[in-house]
Amino acid sequence: MEDLFMKSMLADYGAETLKGIHNYIPDKEPKKYLYNLISDYPNRGGKGFRPGLCIAACVAYGGKKEDASNSAICLELLHNAFLVHDDCEDESYIRRGKPTLHEMNTNAIAINIGDAMQALALQPLLKNRQTLGDKVSLSIYSEIQHLVLESVEGQAMELGWRKDNVCNLKEKDYLQMILKKTCWYTCIHPIRIGAIIGTKGKINPDIFNRLGYFMGTSFQIQDDVLNLVANEDKYGKEICGDIIEGKRTLMLIHLLENCKASEFKMVKKFLSLPIKERKQEDAIRILHLMKDYQSIDYAKKTSKYLAGGALKEFYTIFSRLPETKDKKLIESIILYMINRDY
């Protein structure tokens, strides 16, 4: 029931945001290799996590959901722009059950589409001035600027680790990278922005940092676990794709910290090869090693601990607010993470 409630509310807010995204796409040329492709990823349907958190935080704090809609559109457009660029950078093949944008076109076209999406994401922020006034709009603008910078810094960290084939990472490095690459833009800023709008700028948004961080890290670890254990059709990405891409997940870091020297050497050699030369059977071998060394179980447990931390933060911050569906939505996302059995 909890899952159904969460999924239907996220789908509802996601659908409204998607409609808003379509409104911001110019109806002009060049269409074939630009404007027609901008809505491709958003149309494939994501979880609607970011707009959901932003709108829910706004309404939970007494705002109207319409007041958060422009910011939700901006967040979702930026998220999809990041995905387009990430897929090029990671050389991924599948996104949300279909070939990635650069696979369907070219790298150059995909990068250009990502750039256009980032530029279009600024438009709803300007529109905020009409509905929220200058002060609140400026503070949301500065939230978004921080979000983009943190995300690219996190991406740079991980791309650098892959380029230099860094294999001696610790859990702390992972937590730092994921804070930057995922948490700010997936959870921390959407909640902060929603609460700023709901309180008309009267709240100190720093109170949500821990909540968003714990939620974001738990969410990312679970997503990485799914890449190893899920059914490809259901998951929408290639299984073991993260191993092939050399993504520095918590499972990989745990394996490299705990395996024998000979196994460490084998994994390091695999990761030193260009992505297209990495073989599926070697990725499967690494997956088995992760199972043998209980790296996947360790990651599952860690994600639940962090979701527990998020639940505690949630009750501390939100318990004083009236019981609303939107407050319940945020709680149900955390409970979903705690009770997830993949």
Binding site: Q176, T199, Y213, Y305, G309, N339
Partner: protein, 229 residues
């Protein structure tokens, strides 16, 4: 004795989780992970603040940067700064105008009271208005939230002005009810304030403004704007 039936205890998913974390081993593992995450977050935020301060310092030293007028990059920076200056000037002019309007309403309606004292904290004006015009006799409720972000307990005493309309037309402040009016705001506490407006049946058409402020400090300034048809 109450004849109310005792509700059977219903186990929820949260209960399952809370029961699970009673296990000591699990708790210490969770504590370790959560603490480690908190340390990373605190370090990152501190590093971010430091980086922002360094950028701020560079921007403040703008005269040094402007010293070479032939340099293209310096020209771009100068233009950007001028644009920011213009924007800030416009913003402060707007704030000043709103401040003047607020104090003139306050003076007109409450001339016997002491003038608003200066405050060290930044004062802001919040605008509350209805989407639709109101009819005489209509009841409307406005809500806003106050949040105490300092570490001190703040005593609040909210006061209201008359509603001032065209040609100094007045709707008496009795039409407004502020709930709660007197209260304490603890550190980090949030309170919802409700303003009930019951328009008199003989209210004349026009745009009316009323002002709600804290009698102890001028940090809370709420301008209520309505149209009567």
């Amino acid at each position: 004795m109450s004849n109310k039936k005792k509700e059977p205890f219903r186990k929820t998913l949260t209960d399952d989780f809370l029961n699970a974390i009673k296990n000591e081993e699990l708790l210490s593992g969770a504590q370790k992970v959560v603490n480690s995450a908190v340390n990373v977050l605190e370090e990152e935020i501190a590093a971010g603040i430091l980086a922002a301060k360094k950028i701020e310092k560079k921007i403040i030293d703008v005269e040094d940067i402007r010293s070479d007028p032939d340099d293209l990059m310096n020209r771009i920076r100068r233009d950007t700064h001028e644009a920011v200056d213009l924007f800030l000037d416009a913003l402060s002019a707007i704030s000043k105008q709103v401040g003047n309007l607020a104090s003139s309403v306050d003076k007109e309606t409450n001339s016997k009271e002491k003038p608003v004292s200066e405050t060290k904290r930044e004062s802001t004006v919040t605008l509350l208005e209805t989407e639709q015009p109101l009819k005489p006799g209509q009841l409307e409720v406005f809500k806003f939230t106050l949040f105490e972000d300092s570490e001190k307990l703040t005593k609040m005493k909210l006061q209201k002005s008359h509603l001032i309309g065209p040609n100094n037309r007045i709707i008496n402040s009795r039409a407004l009810k502020v709930i709660p009016k007197n209260f304490n705001l603890k550190p980090k506490e949030e309170k919802e304030i409700s303003i009930q407006l019951k328009l008199p049946k003989n209210a004349l058409p026009g745009n009316y403004n009323a002002f709600i402020s804290d009698a102890n400090d001028n940090i809370i300034n709420v301008l209520l704007k309505i149209e009567v048809i």
